[in-house]
Symmetry: C2
């Protein structure tokens, strides 16, 4: 059992007890992905230094990279003025996206059309 | 009435018809804020080039900077693998946060304590 971090009282969890968390590569500034956390996954993340989300579909912890090896080491956790969004500065090993792209945000809208701006990484 | 952009069918809106949108300063990579959009505010944003969110509290369009002058010019709209989060690359005039800080993410958790890492900008 991990201890409840003090700042957690300032986090405005939604009705499902979740808060969105943006993962950003700490040195390059790339926005890698957005996922959800609950109080327990935040506590685990701070305790271990490895990012652990809450999977809404599986209704369980989602220890990022547990099966793929594409872990996220936590560099710093920040939160916003309303306390309803987290920003995780991370060091991402390999691709963050399950499509093997570095970032989940690999599609851009240009001239009204969707353009893929990022290719899957080679293993 | 703005025309519905084609890619909108790939966006997975939640039960309230909303999708989270992360705003990132296009050149520095700063993550400025996170807010929500619906299909109509996305269409307006693309049509005008000025970011328009949906205010969940006021239940109305939130044309960023309309009263403060702290507008966000849209540089590029991107979306993620699941289509359930938007990433807006923007050019932010002045502070993005209503506390007059450049970014809403001005609090960091360091050594278990909350630290303010960003001061309000002087007007």
């Amino acid at each position: 059992m991990t201890e409840k971090p003090g700042f957690i009282d300032e986090i405005a969890f939604n009705d499902d007890g979740l808060v969105p968390a943006i993962a950003q590569q700490h040195d390059t500034g790339e926005v890698l992905m957005m996922a959800w956390m609950n109080a327990a996954s935040i506590a685990e993340t701070l305790a271990t230094g490895r990012v652990c989300y809450w999977s809404r579909s599986r209704r369980s912890f989602w220890r990022k990279g547990e099966s793929s090896g594409h872990v996220q080491r936590l560099v710093e956790l920040r939160y916003d003025c309303d306390g309803d969004t987290l920003l995780l500065l991370v060091d991402q090993t390999g691709p963050a996206c399950h499509t093997d792209r570095r970032s989940c945000f690999y599609r851009a809208v240009r001239g009204g059309e969707t353009v893929e701006i990022m290719a899957p990484e080679q293993p």
